[in-house]
Amino acid sequence: MAIFVDQHTKVIVQGLTGGQGRFHGLRNKAYGTQVVGGVTPGKAGQDVEGIPVFDSVEDAVKATGATASFIAVPPKAAPAAILEAARAGIGFVVCITEGIPAQDEARVFATLQRDFPATRLLGPNCPGIISPGKCNIGITAGEIAQLPTASGPNVGIVSRSGTLTYQALYELKQQGIGVSTCVGIGGDPVPGTSFVDCLAEFQADPETHAIIMIGEIGGSAEEEAAEFITNHVTKPMSAYIAGVTAPAGKKMGHAGAIVSGGKGTAQGKMDALRMAGVKIGLNPTEAGSLMAEIVNNLR
């Protein structure tokens, strides 16, 4: 088991013929992901190293039976690409595109909620998702992810930050701890998938025995997660929140990472998670060490 994606997931890449789509699409395929097709309007009939290209998501789904889509198109085109995938019946959409206007993200999210409730969007502006040994969609370097073991304990990772996601994978690999699934939800203001969505899945996944969460300043997603953990998560957790020293009113790289009006501070988030019983590391390595302790106790 894993969450959201596994060895049965069939993936198409929207923007496969573009620079990013080709590079990461082929890497995902090389990892062992079932990358069954690509979509670029006007390029039907072509192929990218053997992966067939279609004009539309609808055509690609009909021909390949794809269930997931990896969107690697520029910000102007991404909102339409997400909705096209949903319309074609894709159940899981991963959008790595950075720089989509917040107004567009809000409209896309509201449209998915109203018209396509069966479609889950991961991202935008996220590194993607990897269920080690089964499926890798996005830009994560698969080799830094430790394979899960049948007997466990295995750890689920959910993170708002790309590089800190890799860091978490790496820390667990150093400790020889298996990963069930690692989800990067992205740092934008309106993420399609939230911490809470992932925590609910990890809690229900028999292959996940403990969870690491990596948050950052801005918004209230970590506080909502803390409330959910209190009420619904029984698996042990460690967490790290980036941005303790971030000044107020400045966007720290991510469009969503901003402390404004005294809200969204790292301290507030850490306090909320600690209250929910989560072990808090003051840096990523410490969160990794805390997880190693948790896992050793489970063994």
Binding site: G99, P101, A102, T140, S161, E216, V244, T245, L282
Partner: protein, 381 residues
């Protein structure tokens, strides 16, 4: 990107939101010219992106040219909470019967737009919220439904906007919402939104923050970017296309990824140091990017040591190391570098760094983030 009041008012005017006639001035003489155009009495308002202008003496009434000269002369160059006033906005003074508050933002928790409306305007909305939370009406708006006039009217009734101002404020809300959505604002706020004795409603102030991700469909925003207040380091970073925020500490920071960069600041702080900046060079870390980053850090006289924190995911360790070696050769550094290189092929990368022939006084390598932070902080002391 935050706009100055005058830019916000110009932006509002595009969406037919009534604002006072006026103009912006960089000098005392320009201020007089704008005042003559706006007709006396006028208000001379300091243009800074910080609250509390009035209390600091940055907003003055003038009834003739001499008074404009006096006030503009005092206000231009004034320091308001660390912001030096470079421009004043001169507008015709408005008679005020009542003051309200209205704003639109994105509520990230609800993933919907949020209208905040209050019949108590003219003061900080946080103060109103602290004193009497019921004085603020909060209404969520589904972005694919929008804000119909009838809904806006109901919000006004709920906020106890008086009958005489109801139509005017409701109409204003619809226009402000259009400005917020079509104008790609992160925030569109009017405080105070005034009712004049003559019965008209009017935006007496404008606070607008634009979503820079939407700049591609707003070529008109270029003029705003030109007046953005950046320090010299931030200006250089922008030219080099780097995500940079200037801070006050002594350890220069370069990291790949926003989260890792934030985390690096935190760790430096934890071990007793202070960061001079936030700098995210993004996923790649080639020689060009690294050179640009080092040039920006080098332009900061306060920097005593430089901490390069790279985690190789897609970017492999040896490529990063080659980039750093090349960059160090190109830039004459004023401070020593401590590097932590980890992730994919980190060992190969560290080997390249060790064998590059760069003296230890210029570059040292540490295997973990914490150890590297300690070394960088020690060098900065």
């Amino acid at each position: 990107m935050d706009l100055f009041e005058y830019q916000g008012k110009q932006y509002f005017a595009k969406y037919n939101i009534p604002v006072s006639a006026g103009g912006v001035a960089l000098t005392v003489e320009e201020a007089v010219v704008e005042a003559e155009k706006a007709l006396y009495p006028v208000v001379v308002k300091a243009q800074v992106q910080v609250g509390g202008r009035g209390k600091a003496g940055g907003i003055k009434l003038a009834t003739n040219a001499d008074e404009v000269r006096l006030h503009a002369g005092n206000i231009l160059g004034m320091d308001i909470k660390g912001h030096v006033v470079k421009r004043v906005w001169i507008e015709h003074a408005s008679d005020i019967a009542e003051e309200y508050y209205a704003s639109f933002t994105l509520d990230r928790a609800a993933k919907q737009h949020l209208l905040m409306l209050s019949a108590q305007g003219g003061v900080e909305i946080e103060d109103v919220a602290a004193k009497d939370p019921t004085a603020i009406v909060k209404l969520h708006i589904n972005p694919i439904v929008g804000l119909p006039l009838a809904t806006a009217r109901q919000a006004c009734i709920d906020a106890k906007i008086p009958e005489k101002a109801l139509d005017g404020v409701a109409d204003m809300l619809v226009k402000l919402y259009e400005c917020f959505t079509k104008g790609d604002c992160d925030l569109a706020e009017i405080n105070p939104l005034i009712l004049k004795p003559t019965g008209e409603v009017h935006a007496l102030d404008a606070k607008v923050s634009l979503d820079s991700n939407a700049a591609f469909r707003h070529p008109e925003w270029e003029e705003y970017a030109a007046t953005e207040e950046l320090d010299a380091r931030e200006q250089l970073a922008r030219e080099k296309n780097l995500q940079y925020i200037g801070l006050d500490g002594t350890v220069g920071i370069i990291a790949n990824g926003a989260g890792l960069a934030m985390s690096t600041l935190d760790v430096v702080n934890q071990v007793g140091g202070s960061a001079a900046n936030f700098l995210d060079i993004g996923g790649g870390a080639n020689a060009e990017l690294m050179t640009a980053a080092l040039e920006v850090i080098n332009s900061d006289a306060k920097v005593k040591s430089i901490f390069i924190n790279i985690f190789g995911g897609i970017t492999r360790g040896e490529e990063v190391a080659k980039g750093i070696v090349e960059a160090v050769k190109r830039v004459t550094l004023r401070a020593p570098i401590v590097i932590r290189l980890d992730g994919t092929n980190a060992e190969e990368g560290r080997k390249i760094l060790a064998e590059a022939g760069i003296p230890d006084s210029q570059l040292t390598s540490r295997p973990t983030m914490l150890e590297a932070a300690r070394a960088a902080v020690a060098l900065a002391k």
